[in-house]
Structure formats: structure tokens, C-alpha cells
């Protein structure tokens, strides 16, 4: 039996090995404290504080918030779709095809793709009476569904219906809506006959 093997054998006679007391070297304390400090700093920078929404590569809720998509035509279009589906889509259909005895179609409608001045008056003021849409006659009443929407939301909705389902008309800005709103404020619902006479 060589020396190394011998040193692995329990010393003494058949008993369990026993430990003696001796002081822990100071450098172990220092290294442990340093590692603890580095770990705490790393944790502070990268944990996101256990927020269920924060995944790497984001390191904090603030940074995640910073990288949310905002502004731009894409965001406006998305907002327009959202408002359309909650406010307008119930009657006009989420596909813009309208519903019999509820609302005429918006897809391909000459009233939608025409000028925005006339179009914006319909949600702002409501509409009643007989109206020709794509060659079919619709005689229904519409409440001023857009009167309570903000300028930006109504502009987003108008832009959405003017650019969706194959419609290819220009965008409407919040300022455009504001101008139309100022003109029509307080007017009673217009009839289809009056609408035809309005400038586009």
C-alpha cells in the first residue's frame, strides 16, 4: 500500500473520523463577501425584480416600457382597427361588409372613399333618411356614434375604413376631424339629402 492510499484510510481504530476545531482563514471571508457583493450588483442590474413581464434581454420594467411600439402610421392603423371593432363593427361588420337592415357596407362605399369632410359628419352628427350606397338604397338611422370619440380616435377610425378592405383613400388627421367637429357641433342629425349637397 502506497502513501497516498494509506492517507485515505480512516485513522485510529475502526471509529468514525473526527473533526477538530481550527479558525477559518480570513481570505475566505473576504472572497465570499466580494462574491456576494458582485452577485448583488448583478442581481440589481439584471433581475427585473422578479417582474413576471420582464424577460431577457430586458433588464427592468422601465426598459421594457421604453421599447413598446408607439406612434407612427402603423400604431394609428392598429388603434383605428381597435376602435372600429368596438364601436362601428357591431353594425357595419368587422369585415366592413355591412349587415342587412342594420348598416350599409363601408368596403367600396363611395361615401367612405370620397372626401373626408362629408364622411366625418356622419359619425359626428348621425344620419337619417334614404341613402344610395353602391347602387343599393338604405333607409336607416345612425346615431352620432363618433361624437364621444376623441379627435385622434375618430381620425384613426376614419383612416382605417378609408384604407381597409380594398378602400384606397387618403388618411384623415386629428386636425381634420377637429375642424369638421367645430363646424358641425350642436347640429341635429343630417339627412341623406343634405349630405349629398355638402362639399366633399
Amino acid at each position: 500500500m502506497n502513501d497516498e492510499a494509506k492517507s485515505n484510510c480512516p485513522t485510529g481504530t475502526g471509529g468514525e473520523p473526527s473533526a477538530t476545531q481550527s479558525t477559518v482563514p480570513m481570505w475566505i471571508f473576504i472572497v465570499t463577501l466580494l462574491l456576494l457583493f458582485v452577485g448583488a450588483v448583478y442581481f440589481d442590474h439584471h433581475s427585473g425584480w422578479f417582474n413576471a413581464k420582464v424577460y431577457s434581454p430586458y433588464v427592468s420594467a422601465e426598459q421594457l416600457e421604453l421599447y413598446q411600439p408607439k406612434s407612427g402610421a402603423a400604431a394609428a392603423a392598429a388603434q383605428g382597427k381597435k376602435v372600429y371593432e368596438t364601436v362601428c363593427g357591431i353594425c357595419h361588420g368587422v369585415d366592413g361588409m355591412g349587415k342587412p337592415n342594420q348598416a350599409p357596407p363601408l368596403a367600396g362605399s363611395e361615401w367612405v372613399t370620397g372626401g373626408f369632410h362629408r364622411l366625418a359628419q356622419i359619425p359626428l352628427n348621425g344620419l337619417n333618411g334614404s341613402l344610395q350606397v353602391e347602387g343599393k338604397d338604405w333607409n336607416l338611422n345612425m346615431a352620432p356614434m363618433g361624437a364621444n370619440l376623441s379627435d385622434a380616435d375618430l381620425a384613426a377610425v376614419l383612416t382605417y375604413i378609408r384604407t381597409s378592405w380594398g378602400n384606397k383613400a387618403g388618411a384623415v388627421s386629428a386636425d381634420d376631424v377637429k375642424a369638421v367637429r367645430a363646424v358641425v357641433a350642436g347640429h341635429p342629425a343630417i339627412s341623406a339629402a343634405q349630405l349629398k349637397d355638402l362639399p366633399e
Binding site: 422578479f50 413576471a52 413581464k53 420582464v54 424577460y55 431577457s56 434581454p57 430586458y58 421594457l64 421604453l66 421599447y67 413598446q68 411600439p69 408607439k70 406612434s71 407612427g72 402610421a73 402603423a74 400604431a75 392598429a78 388603434q79 382597427k81 381597435k82 371593432e85 368596438t86
Partner: protein, 267 residues
């Protein structure tokens, strides 16, 4: 044993604390998770799977697909790209300005500064949020996988080995049902040099009835892999379920916790 009670207490506390951290904490954070809102949309994500796709996840499990495929996309970083949408009234001024600026691979602060500069010159811009990373560069996803992706998975089959590619987004990458079925029957027919074993026991090769039309479910093969004349390959219910499950794997919605700007790509 000396100090038996202390040892028991120490072990109990250590295991109890880790149980609290791993199990209780996770359940408290995500146990009541519901469908999340898709960014800038009225849609919610993820959609409940169809019955066939739900059954298909068990076929996926039974055939050990998770042994070679993962369902998790990693993301290393996020950048902002500034995109000019309209040049405004002074197009030459704007285009000259744009040509001097760095527009891609920016941080949010840099992107905002660039946007302000271009807006001051009269142009209008959009900032696109783009996720980046090795998996995303491979085309395996648009963003990282997050907990919401697995809301309807029982069990969650994350996988840990990638002998084959990641499948977190396979329904969006290969939306064709026939492609998925042919790939299960003969992987090399659609992916040259694929190392995947064929799962032919999920299919039936049978003679087309004399004078009858072939089954509407029959697989459409590329030329070299077609079955002999007068025969057709039809998927079993399990194969259809598995394909339905694979088609349901679509982690392509922008979420609050994994934002990106969807860019319309050609189909």
C-alpha cells in the same frame, strides 16, 4: 445521531424555502395567467387550440418529438430601426439628412433623437422595434418565447435538445397542411438531407379503389417520392391531429413582454 432535530429543521427549512421560491412563487405569478392582449390590437393571444390540435399535442408527446425538437426561441437583444414614411414638403432636405444618419440598430434613445431630427426637417418617420438573436436570425421566430405562448400546453413541451430545428413557430413557417403531412411521412421529400426519421406508421398506403377517385385526404408528393401508380397515402387520425398541432404552433403576436413591430412580409 447527534442533533437529529436540528438537522431535520435545517433540511426542512432549506427544502421549504426552495419549494416556496420555485413552486409557490411561480404559481402566484403565473398560475392565474389568462390570454394576453396583442399589442395595438383588439385581439387576444394565444387562441385556444382546436380539438384536433389539442389531441395532437398528446401525439407529439407520445412520439417523443420533444426529444429532438425544442419549442423555445431565444432572443439576445432588441434594436430600433427608424423608417422614413413620408418625405414631407422638402424631400431633398429630408433625404440629404437621412443619408447622413444611422437609421438601423439603434437604442430607443438614439432612435428618438434621430426621429426628432427628421421630424424637424419636415419628414415623418416610424420606429420599428426589432428583436434579434441567433434563433431569430435562423428564422425560427420573430421574438423570444414567453410564458403566454404556453398557456394552453398540458404539459409544456419545451424540449432541451435541438437535433432538429425549433418548432415554436412551425405553424407560421410552414402553414401548408400537406407540407406538414408529407414531412411526417417522408422528411427528405421536403427537407433535403433531413436527419428526421419518417413516421410512416401514422399513415396508410392503400390501393385506390378501382374506378374510384382518390381520397381527398391523400398526400400530394413531389415527383420522386410519390407512391406507386394506383396507390395513395392517407393520414391516420393521429397524423391529422399531430399536423393540426404543428400548424397551431404560432408564436407570432407582439406582446407587452416581448414587443416588436409587425412588418408585413410577402406570403
Amino acid at each position: 445521531m447527534k442533533n437529529g432535530f436540528s438537522v431535520f429543521l435545517a433540511v426542512f427549512i432549506a427544502l421549504g424555502l426552495s419549494w416556496c421560491g420555485f413552486v409557490l412563487g411561480s404559481v402566484k405569478q403565473l398560475g392565474t395567467a389568462k390570454q394576453a392582449a396583442v399589442l395595438n390590437s383588439s385581439d387576444t393571444y394565444p387562441l385556444q387550440r382546436t380539438g384536433n390540435a389539442t389531441l395532437g399535442s398528446q401525439v407529439y408527446r407520445a412520439n417523443g418529438c420533444a426529444a429532438c425538437h425544442t419549442e423555445q426561441v431565444r432572443q439576445d437583444g432588441v434594436v430600433c430601426d427608424v423608417v422614413l414614411t413620408a418625405a414631407g414638403k422638402k424631400p431633398t432636405v429630408v433625404s440629404n439628412l437621412v443619408s447622413t444618419l444611422k437609421l438601423t440598430g439603434l437604442t430607443r434613445e438614439e432612435a428618438d433623437a434621430v426621429s426628432d431630427k427628421i421630424a424637424a426637417a419636415g419628414g415623418s418617420v416610424e420606429t420599428h422595434i426589432v428583436a434579434s438573436g441567433a434563433d431569430i436570425a435562423r428564422g425560427w421566430g420573430i421574438r423570444r418565447s414567453v410564458a403566454a405562448d404556453y398557456l394552453y400546453d398540458h404539459p409544456v413541451q419545451l424540449g432541451s435538445l435541438r437535433a432538429g430545428p425549433d418548432l415554436a413557430n412551425v405553424g407560421a413557417r410552414f402553414p401548408d397542411l400537406n407540407w406538414q403531412l408529407v414531412h411526417l411521412y417522408a422528411p427528405q421529400a421536403v427537407v433535403k438531407n433531413s436527419a428526421m426519421p419518417p413516421f410512416r406508421f401514422l399513415f396508410e398506403v392503400r390501393k385506390i379503389n378501382l374506378g374510384g377517385a382518390s381520397s381527398p385526404d391523400a398526400l400530394q408528393f413531389p415527383k420522386d417520392f410519390a407512391p406507386p401508380a394506383g396507390c395513395e397515402v392517407v393520414p391516420s387520425p393521429e397524423a391529422k391531429q399531430l399536423a393540426a398541432y404543428l400548424l397551431s404552433l404560432k408564436a407570432d403576436a407582439p406582446l407587452y413582454e416581448a414587443p416588436f413591430t409587425p412588418v408585413m412580409t410577402k406570403p
